[in-house]
């Protein structure tokens, strides 16, 4: 944590959350009228202050150009994987005989922050064919529709590999 | 035409809930049936307020002030049902609280066990 400085200090992650909440407000309102925007910014500031003071998940979200770049790369990779895995899933579903060999395998993750781990788990869960069943420290247990390998490192490379690199740089 | 079907659905749902309420002996199941009756009643009230080819009575770009009386559905049943749903949740909560208390006094959920207040 940053060294203690005298004076009033906003909790870290405050401005990022404030920005995000204001964006959600504006998008939900779908208008840029000044009084709506001002009210939204006020409410978001109060909420952002309350939530960043209490909970830890938002504390380590920081903003920098390289993080933004990696986040965009991650979104691109995610969309490609999502579509590919869904088409793969449709092949199973429409096949006359469902030919799968499911199983639960264990993989390791290097990510440390809650947001990064949540994003990794969500991306694994959203690509059909793999579903996070439990998370225990650094190991994720994954229900895999078509088990190709039971080796931990190999499975990590196959399942989490595409996302983990960019997520690690975007969320730490 | 459309609202007739929805009205019939709501009434049949009330009948289903009535049937479940009268046949089951488990208090929690009776409460589930009661909330089904509530849902059916809400559907009936909303269906009564429907006007042919109607749309929501909210004035905006798609429904101007002038054409609102011709195209909007009846707002009064909607306003009734909005409060009725919230109060329905409250009623369910009270019933469940009593169910929990009854269970703790006799360790059973069957209404056959609670005969003290019968006439």
């Amino acid at each position: 944590m940053a060294p203690h400085r005298p004076g009033f200090k906003m909790p870290s992650g405050f401005f990022w959350l404030w920005f995000l909440l204001t964006f959600v407000w504006v998008a939900a309102n779908s208008s840029f009228a000044i009084e709506a925007l001002a009210t939204g910014a006020l409410i978001s500031a109060v909420l952002a202050y309350l939530y960043t003071r209490k909970s830890g998940a938002w504390k380590d979200v920081r903003f920098s150009p390289s993080r933004l770049y990696h986040f965009i790369r991650y979104v691109g990779v995610f969309i490609v994987e999502l579509v590919r895995a869904n088409i793969n899933m449709m092949r199973y579903v429409y096949a006359p005989r469902i030919d799968i060999n499911p199983g639960i395998v264990k993989i390791k993750t290097k990510l440390k922050t809650p947001v990064g781990r949540l994003a990794l788990a969500n991306s694994i869960a959203l690509t059909p064919g793999s579903l996070v069943i439990d998370i225990d420290g650094d190991s994720l247990f994954i229900h895999w529709l078509d088990v190709k390998t039971t080796d931990t490192d190999e499975a990590t490379r196959l399942i989490a590999g595409p996302f983990e690199e960019h997520l690690g740089k975007a969320f730490g | 035409m459309m609202s007739n079907v929805v009205l019939a659905t709501g009434l049949v749902l009330i009948l289903i809930g009535l049937w479940g309420m009268l046949t089951h002996r488990n208090i929690l199941r009776i409460i589930i049936a009661f909330s089904l009756i509530g849902t059916g009643t809400h559907i009936v009230i909303v269906a009564i307020g429907y006007v042919t080819n109607g749309t929501a009575p909210i004035i905006d770009r798609a429904l101007t002030l002038l054409e609102a009386p011709a195209r909007a559905v009846d707002p009064i049943p909607s306003a009734l049902v909005v409060t009725a749903i919230v109060i329905g949740l409250a009623v369910t909560a009270v019933m469940l609280a009593y169910a929990i208390r009854l269970y703790e006094s006799k360790k059973t959920l069957s209404i056959d066990a609670f005969t003290e207040s019968k006439w």
Binding site: - | V5, I16, L28, I32, A33, V46, T92, A93
Partner: protein, 80 residues
């Protein structure tokens, strides 16, 4: 077209209502009852009452399920 929507929804509401009465396990009955209220909410939108649909969606799906679950948990040792 719209009428087809509504007929299908009515059939689904009735199916889940009957399931809520007939299913053996209390949990499954409760889930079916929640599904009936979900379809009812879609039906309200089609009938031009989005306010009602919003209330039903937020109360019927989340809060009502939760208090039923608490009641089931606190009466867990009862026999069916």
């Amino acid at each position: 077209m719209l009428e087809l929507f509504v007929y299908l929804l009515c059939g689904s509401i009735l199916a889940s209502g009957i399931l809520a009465i007939r299913l053996g396990s209390l949990m499954a009955a409760m889930v079916s009852g929640g599904l009936a209220s979900l379809f009812a909410a879609v039906c309200y939108v089609l009938l031009g009452a989005p306010d009602v649909a919003m209330t039903e969606a937020s109360i019927g799906s989340g809060l009502s399920t939760l208090i039923f679950l608490y009641a089931i948990r606190r009466t867990a040792t009862a026999k069916e």
